[in-house]
Subunit: 450 residues, 2 copies
């Protein structure tokens, strides 16, 4: 009977990250300051260590992974590449379906892959504390886990409404020693100002970012950590695709199409960029970013300079955006509710080198439940987006008889998202379409920089 | 740097289960019927398929694992054997610590190892439905997952208070197609009778067992499935210890001591029995069952014939027992709250061939948090018992300088037990000692059969 799992030994954890910048036909667009002029690396030193800033602007193809980072990753990496025999049979497709399972990390998602090097480089730079924000809690969990490994105090500003509604993500962070504050909090001036006016303010991701950045910028011993969007974050995630390529070699196969969820872009970039290297060298492989129909940044947004946060405190980045004031509907794939996208992913999409599709919420949960019944693992709602798009292609193959090799990133498990599955089973999930008028209004407010 | 993970290829999933009966110095004691006379296999045919009944009474050393069972297990087996380098360093012990991680199964615990063969043999026997009970939900999850793999309808009677308090375990079962009923339910005469008198009855495990057995006994198409205690369940779990022995060979090591949580006995039997085979052949290895101080069946119970359930409907089995009416305090390791113990484990303990210790609840959570901070994985409360006992031994080695090799079964993750960790962090967990008067009262009521 054909093989199910393609495993690597821990000695096969990659020794370098892959930097897609080296293979892009054009150099990346620079971030701009408030004056509309490109900013240099030094603008980032108050909140990031120099090692990460260097990675942010590097054009080197291969960047070495420090040995202590590889060592820390051995707790859960290499992650398995799985052949979904049972899903193929259930769908009756001639396509072959593979998935990389990143839910094996202690925090349960791929976010740990960048949390570990971020914690390491900050510790090396003498930093004692990391501050960050979290919404659904996946990133907060990952950085709490990683900070603990390198002896850093981790301070997580968790949107109050999530803090109250998701107590188990909070306890997970606390188990690893993370300090979790409901945001707005009394820890920062931003938080105190908000609470003075409105003691019951439910918080927002934008507000939590402001608290975390305020703390990092105002204290020498504290830096800020971000879980997606930036170049160095996508760089760290390429470990997923690099491992997958070795595993496909062992399987004697190679994907025709690669699918990954796409919110801020680190999930997609992590799995797809190493395959882009092959594509740049002439190989025929299609790379598909899958986003929610309710927050369709690539498929319906504009390619323009915009802020990364709602308050306009970050540098402006050229990216696909729905406008920094765009408020996506409250879908359950919290990790994909971002108005913008990674500048690297955006540029590749703009140049027609990668593809994007959007899928509706109900269809993603239907795909997730089908997958769970076939393969056992209950996926995170974000991962269900990739599963949906991959299953749709497998069903097309069933029509055409094509024996394509399909591959998706199963970026995390859904053990902390069962309330969403509950609502799905109870018929209480909205199937948000995209609110066109709101988009137009939001896009009309993009900053003018050209 | 020394190796962390010892992996097996899926072709190395064992082809036989190990039956400890073949190496026991005395034959197992028979179960007794209501008349105090030994019952034969035929008494079990209304609720179990013949293949499982044959395993229940077999004395063969090796029992073949059917190929479809091995194939189904390839979704998550072989499970990894891990060397806990970071925990060793944190404790400062010269001991080497290894653990087998069973939380990789889709349902998150070792329970799946018996759920799959039970579902398979029932399907082979033409059974269409399985009924079972669940308290905390681990067994209900495992059998829902396994039943789905073999096309069986799974009906889980979940104690109402758990049904209401643990909605996420319930949604997990539903994701795999399990039908979950709050017990007492309107599905059975037992349930209807209770509800007629008391519509708000919170239910109990004993009541849920009665509902599940009633359904199995009264319908030709339905059998009952049990998650621990019985010989065939322990047999199926030996796959854990058998894999571990292969992995220790690859590690070039062998345990001096093996630790596992012990409630009904399948966790302990699963990991320890294959090492008992070596012990029976003269090897020096200590096998330690770890139980809660609040439900200390082996360490404080009596070795006698007793019923398996509170209502006295099951055959009587000779085992260590606290009395079938003993009500253990409501600790968070729900899987270890059982008044009796596997007859096989009990007999080996009675003959001095294995050891047992009891540990207190707070100390188990302290151990679990220490483990999570060292090794990443957040353990199930049941698993924390083994971790505690293993850590205590590692700390003794620190005093004596002994370089023992210690091994424990990390039987599951704690992703659905974060409410318990929450209470631990909030200082709200009781540290139950054992209520001696209640035990004496309970033991005074053991059935008289000799």
């Amino acid at each position: 009977m054909p093989q199910t799992k393609f495993l690597l030994d821990e000695s096969e954890i990659p020794k370098h990250w892959y930097n897609v910048v080296a293979d892009m036909p054009n150099p990346p667009t620079p971030p701009l300051g408030p004056d509309g002029q490109p900013i240099g690396p030094e603008a980032l030193t108050p909140i990031f260590p120099m090692a990460l800033i260097e990675q942010e602007v590097s054009a080197e193809r291969w960047i070495p992974i420090p040995e202590p980072v590889r060592e820390a990753m051995r707790l859960y990496r290499p992650s398995p590449l799985m052949r979904a025999h049972r899903l193929e049979a259930m769908l009756g497709t001639p396509a072959k379906i593979y998935y990389k399972y990143e839910g094996v990390s202690p925090a349960g998602s791929h976010k740990v892959n960048t949390a570990i090097p971020q914690a390491y480089y900050n510790q090396q730079a003498g930093i004692k504390r990391l501050s960050t924000e979290t919404g659904a809690g996946q990133w907060g969990s990952a950085i709490s886990f990683a900070g603990n490994m390198f002896g850093l105090e981790v301070r997580v500003f968790m949107v109050r409404v999530s803090y109250d509604q998701k107590p188990f993500r909070r306890s997970m962070m606390q188990t690893w020693g993370g300090k979790v504050f409901a945001s707005p909090s009394m820890e920062t001036q931003t938080g105190r100002d908000v609470l003075a006016k409105d003691p019951n303010n439910p918080g927002s991701l934008g507000m939590a970012i402001s608290e975390a950045v305020e703390e990092a910028a105002s204290r020498e011993d504290t830096n800020y950590a971000l879980g997606s969007v930036l170049n160095h974050v996508l760089l760290h995630q390429t470990i997923i695709g690099l491992e997958a390529k070795k595993q496909f070699e062992k399987a004697g196969d190679y994907p025709d199409m690669v699918f990954a969820p796409c919110g801020g872009g680190s999930n997609f970039g992590g799995v797809a960029f190493p395959f882009f290297a092959d594509k740049a060298a002439g190989k025929n492989v299609r790379l598909v970013a899958v986003e929610p129909a309710s927050c369709p940044t690539l498929t319906k947004g504009t390619y323009a300079y915009d802020f990364g946060d709602t308050a306009g405190l970050t540098p402006m980045m050229k990216m696909y955006t729905l406008g920094s004031n765009f408020m996506p509907p409250s879908i359950h794939a919290g990790g994909l509710r971002y108005h913008g996208d990674s500048p690297l992913v955006s540029q590749l999409y703009h140049e027609g080198l990668i593809e994007a599709v959007s899928v509706h919420q109900l269809a993603t949960f239907e795909a997730g439940v089908t997958f769970a019944r076939a393969e056992g693992i209950i996926p995170a709602p974000e991962s269900n987006h990739a599963i949906r798009a991959c299953m749709d292609e497998a069903l097309r193959c069933k029509q055409t008889g094509e024996k394509k090799t399909l591959f998706f990133n199963l970026s995390g498990h859904g053990h902390f998202d069962m309330a969403s599955y509950d609502k799905y089973f109870a018929g209480q999930l909205d199937d948000h379409s995209y609110p066109e008028e709101l988009l137009q209004a939001s896009l009309a407010n993009l900053p003018k920089v050209d």
